[in-house]
């Protein structure tokens, strides 16, 4: 059972061959066995999940209609609001926060009859690249428990790779879906900005944040997109479907793109580790073997993406996180001397170090005297970066590059140097600044038996094509079928 993909499980349940209750029980058995080692979840909902599974089984037995994900156990990152359980964002400031409404994606999962297993760990407020910034717990990489799962969606990625669910939803502001998917040897898609509703997603960088699937293979990502994509009147930045219609992402998935034009950016990706380079070169060879025309292009502004990102994202974060003031919800300091201390002490006590650092950086960049030099400059650089992509996509269907310069690094390796941690986001960040979709698919295991990811980028709203291009690679390889042997350890 645990070897099935989300699509296979879904089909088996719909056909009455598998009971959702058995699949859900099997997931919770694995959680009992492996979760003490992996630490993927902040909360789980066994009772609720078993109830939902039994309900789906009953409706299928009775011949009643069910949703597209009927009976499939899924996980969601803990920055998506749910009326069941807490919505913590892995922060002490929201540790006991119970959302009064469901995020639109949660409503869509429920309407599709998915079984929600639990809410997965992350870097606090999605700020980080290793999940080490979680204020609540530690998550390790199922492939090597001394290494990070990546971040910020490290919990959902570890849950999928560890088969503690069949698929998951993460969010990606600067690589937070793609990089953990890469580190954990699975598939992660950041859709076009505006493709998936952000309503009920706790905001970090509002012009960059996007929810997307984290799954075992490309078809499962297509299935999840069929459930979550589309316009939402509750999110004014979700795109009108008259401008960009959603489609059935599974329908043409196995049809290769004829005369595929692939672009590579050798000057930009030269800094990646040797093994990552090797994996990339093999992927390029495979696409050529499949008939693709591969062209080298120059994207001169990508080198400035990290600089622009860490100004824009932190500026937006400093504004978004101003709402955590200890007044209406969240942690409040005990015995404040005055109302100012309600704000300043509550925030000081409950925010973690990285969150404080980003609030400080963003506040500085927006403050009088520095706005033009940092924030305005970064917005202009953002425009140049987007132009690089617009020009590139006039000449190609997709761009391929690494997801990260290295495979999963050791726990603790980068925590003392925030700038080094930021620099590890080099290949994922420009995508968010440009708003385009990007996918990470497994393309190699390195000499330490750690997964390497391949990143494929496509123009705005071309998710259908992007998934087909990814599927072309996946069909020819077995990397997505490799599963980690989880070594049970006790970190506490």
């Amino acid at each position: 059972m645990e070897q099935l993909s989300a699509n296979q499980l879904r089909d088996g349940i719909a056909a009455g061959r598998i009971r959702s209750l058995d699949a859900t029980k099997a997931v919770f058995e694995r959680i009992r066995k492996f979760e003490p080692t992996i630490g993927a979840y902040i909360s789980t909902f066994e009772e609720l999940a078993l109830e939902k599974a039994a309900d789906v089984d009953q409706r299928i037995a009775a011949g009643d209609p069910v949703g597209q994900l009927a009976g499939v156990p899924v996980a969601i990152k803990d920055n998506m609001c749910t009326t069941f359980g807490a919505t913590t964002c892995a922060s002490k400031i929201l540790e006991n926060f119970h959302a009064p409404y469901n995020a639109t994606v949660v409503e869509k999962l429920l309407a599709a009859d998915a079984v929600i297993v639990g809410k997965a760990n992350m870097d606090e407020f999605a700020m980080g690249s290793s999940t080490e910034n979680s204020g609540l717990k530690r998550t390790v990489n199922p492939w090597d428990t001394s290494r990070v799962p990546g971040g910020s969606s490290g919990g959902p990625a570890a849950a999928v790779a560890g088969r503690l669910c069949f698929a998951a939803l993460g969010s990606d502001t600067g690589g937070s879906i793609r990089q953990p998917a890469s580190f954990c040897g699975i598939v992660g898609l950041k859709p076009t900005y505006g493709r998936v509703s952000r309503y009920g997603l706790v905001a970090y960088g509002s012009s960059l944040d996007q929810i997307g699937p984290i799954t075992q293979n490309v078809a499962d990502t297509a299935l999840m997109m069929n459930v979550i994509a589309g316009h939402d009147p509750a999110d004014s930045t979700s795109i009108d479907e008259t401008i960009a219609p959603v489609c059935d992402y599974l329908k043409k998935l196995d049809e290769p793109i004829e005369k595929l034009r692939v672009a590579i950016v050798p000057q930009f990706t030269a800094g990646a580790d040797e093994q990552v380079q090797k994996a990339l070169n093999e992927a390029i060879d495979l696409y050529m073997k499949l008939g693709a025309e591969v062209t080298e292009i120059d994207m001169p502004h990508l080198d400035y993406a990290i600089a622009a990102y860490y100004v824009i994202a932190t500026a937006e974060a400093s504004s978004n996180l101003a709402r955590y003031d200890g007044v209406h919800y969240g942690h409040r300091t005990e015995n404040p001397a005055d109302y100012i201390e309600v704000y300043s002490k509550s925030r000081a006590e409950a925010f973690g170090e990285e969150v404080k650092r980003r609030i400080m950086l963003g506040t500085y960049a927006l403050s009088s005297g520095y706005y033009d030099a940092y924030y305005l400059k970064a917005l202009k650089v953002r425009n140049l970066i987007r132009s690089d992509f617009t020009e590139a996509f006039e000449k190609c269907d997709c761009i391929i590059m690494p997801v990260a310069p290295t495979t999963a690094f050791k726990i603790g390796e980068k925590v003392d140097d925030p700038l080094q941690m930021y620099l590890s986001d080099i290949y994922t960040i420009a995508v968010n600044l440009a708003g385009i979709p990007g996918i990470s698919i497994p393309c190699e295991l390195d000499e330490n038996n750690l997964p390497v990811g391949l990143q494929i980028l496509a123009p705005t709203f071309a998710e259908d094509k992007l998934l087909r291009i990814a599927r072309m690679f996946e069909k020819e390889t077995d990397w997505h079928k490799k599963k980690p042997d989880i070594e049970i350890t006790n970190h506490d």
Partner: protein
């Protein structure tokens, strides 16, 4: 090299951000923010004189929806997460002092 940002400035920014920092945090952030700002100034290599700032990637401006009455959260749900409440109100420390006449 001179630091991009000094401790006085870090304290000022912390005040703007309503974050009470310890002395150790002030010292740590001064060094780290200086290093990050040094890196960020890499952007100055680019001539952006004639470039428009891009705040948002989508081709949308004002988004309107029909003005219709819908159910709202209601008092109980709204107050359910309040750190402190008093009947139907969020409770906070006194904001005006007694001499203000308010």
């Amino acid at each position: 090299m001179a630091k991009k940002i000094d401790e006085t400035e870090v304290r000022k920014v912390a005040k703007l951000a309503r974050l009470e920092l310890t002395e150790a945090e002030v010292a740590e952030f001064t060094g780290q923010l200086s290093a990050i700002l040094d890196y960020v100034e890499k952007m100055d290599e680019l001539d952006t004189e004639d470039v428009e700032p891009l705040a948002h990637c989508l081709p949308i401006s004002n988004v309107f929806r029909d003005d219709c009455v819908k159910e709202s959260l209601g008092t109980e749900k709204t107050l359910a997460n309040a750190p402190q409440r008093d009947a139907e109100f969020f409770k906070v420390p006194k904001i005006l002092d007694d001499s203000s006449g308010a």
